[in-house]
């Protein structure tokens, strides 16, 4: 009985920490973008402006939550929940440290791939239910982007699976005790990073949102807390991709002994989050046909070659 209670408590704790990290990223991103643009960013509310998050949250909770009369109401309400649920479900397989983690699936990696594919429904349904041409264009771009990155995202991870011999995330981390997988799997790392940016709908691949072209893309019609869910979902997506890169290619919680394992995990994860923000600050957005042609003509063949060579070498040496 006590075991179950503590398990449920730890799951709730992980959920709360993740959501507050995602909310804190709003401040971190605004601050870092500002620093890279020679500004200061929000530095007024609280120490270093950290209470800006609280102010933003209060604002978004009390905003009018308006559903357009022309929208498909049920789907309109359902869409933002999908992205939150799928991304939070994906976090279930992440091993934060030897002790902390929700569940250790033996198909963990496949579970993540399934959840990330389901997350694309959020974009498509949101754009469709909004009944607005910009939202629909955003949703269409979202689906075009999805069919281009989803394939090589799965394939780029297969090299890691070949090297570690397991789909379990804990198994993958433990297989990296001698060397982290970004050294033998550098190609896979780069390709997964590109796919991860597209998966999180971040610049330079924020094609479904494209503020400068499509107002706000698929969530143009959303307001109040429903928009907030898309917003937090986006930051949760960044956190998820960073956590996955850390786990799959940079040895998860592994590190030197002077810090506890969870700190190593968080340090690595936050450095990748900062890279995400840096990419937003520096790169322009490609057209979606450019993304599709890069995905299908360059990255997919490279990831296939990567699997072929990795598999051949593993067979040769064992």
């Amino acid at each position: 009985m006590g075991e179950h209670v503590s398990y449920v408590l730890s799951v709730i704790a992980i959920l709360l920490v993740l959501v507050s990290i995602a909310a804190g990223l709003i401040w971190l991103e605004r601050r870092m973008l500002a620093l890279w643009q020679d500004r200061f960013g929000p530095n007024r509310v609280g120490p270093f402006g950290t209470l800006q998050v609280v102010a933003d949250m209060i604002k978004i909770f009390f905003k009018e939550d308006w559903i357009p009369r022309f929208a498909d109401k049920k789907v309109f309400i359902l869409a933002p929940t999908i992205i939150m649920i799928t991304i939070l479900m994906s976090f279930a397989i992440i091993p934060f440290s030897p002790e902390i983690g929700v569940v250790d699936f033996n198909i963990g990696l496949l579970f993540f791939l399934a959840m990330s594919s389901l997350g694309a429904y959020s974009v498509v349904l949101a754009g469709w239910a909004s009944n607005n041409k910009y939202s629909l264009l955003g949703a269409m771009r979202g689906s075009a982007q999805m069919i281009s990155y989803e394939v090589f995202m799965g394939l780029s991870l297969m090299g890691v699976v070949i090297l570690s011999g397991t789909f379990s995330m804990r198994g993958i981390v433990l297989a990296q005790q001698t060397r982290w997988f970004f050294i033998p799997q550098f190609v896979g790392f780069v390709i997964f990073f590109i796919a991860g940016i597209a998966e999180a709908h971040r610049l330079p691949f924020d094609i479904p949102e494209a503020e400068s072209e499509l107002v706000a893309g698929y969530h143009s019609e959303y307001s109040g807390m429903k928009f907030g869910m898309f917003f937090v979902g986006e930051y949760l997506g960044i956190t998820l991709i960073s956590a996955l890169i850390t786990t799959l290619f940079f040895g998860g919680w592994l590190g030197f002994h002077f810090l506890p394992p969870i700190f190593w995990f968080l340090i690595k994860m936050f450095s990748f989050i900062l890279v995400f923000i840096l990419l937003r600050a520096s790169l322009p957005r490609p057209r979606y046909d450019q993304l599709m042609s890069i995905g299908w003509k360059i990255l997919l063949p490279i990831s296939l070659l990567n699997i072929l060579i990795t598999g051949a070498l593993v067979l040769y040496f064992h």
Binding site: L35, W36, D38, R39, F40, L278, A281, S282, L283
Partner: protein, 171 residues
């Protein structure tokens, strides 16, 4: 590909550049003395109002934010009965200052006029009048004017000679 990596690196280096933002309430930007901000009504060296209620500022104002009503005191000296500037409409163009024949209305380098209530941006004469002379020292319109409004007698003003007695023969 290489140019993308290069631009990422260049953007990263901006972390160590100097910020362009001026942290406003703590650090204030230098405003030149002629900077056009809040509008004031100045007084002449004798601490009397300079404004003579000629309406030229109200006529020059492109957004019609100045309203006033001229009146006279017992000596025939003109002054505004009320003088009202609606700063929620003012565009700080400075045309009123240029139009003013007596240097009464002047713009000063102060712009911190924020209010929570819009009505508080309507300034009355008491709010506009200052005790000093502003940018033009020593100028008193009624000392150089051609009329006697209780400030100086005939021929006693500045740059003015005592009247010539036209019936006298002596120079």
């Amino acid at each position: 590909m290489f140019s993308n990596l290069r631009s990422i690196w260049i953007v990263f280096l901006h972390l160590f550049h100097k910020r362009v933002t001026v942290q406003y309430p703590e650090k204030k930007a230098y405003l030149p003395p002629r900077w056009r901000g809040r509008i004031v009504l100045t007084r002449d060296p004798d601490k009397e109002e300079r404004c003579v209620g000629c309406y030229l500022c109200a006529a020059a104002c492109p957004v019609d934010c100045i309203s006033l009503q001229a009146t006279e005191d017992e000596n025939g000296r003109r002054y505004p009965e009320f003088f009202r500037i609606n700063f929620s409409r003012c565009i700080f163009c400075g045309y009123c200052e240029e139009a003013c024949p007596t240097n009464a209305i002047q713009l000063i380098p102060d712009f911190e006029m924020g209010e929570y209530n819009r009505q508080n941006l309507v300034y009355e004469k008491e709010d506009l009048l200052i005790d000093g002379q502003g940018k033009y020292h020593g100028y008193n319109f009624y000392k150089v004017a051609g009329i006697d409004a209780g400030v100086k007698g005939k021929g006693e003003g500045e740059n003015e000679h005592t009247p010539v007695d036209v019936k006298k023969l002596m120079p």
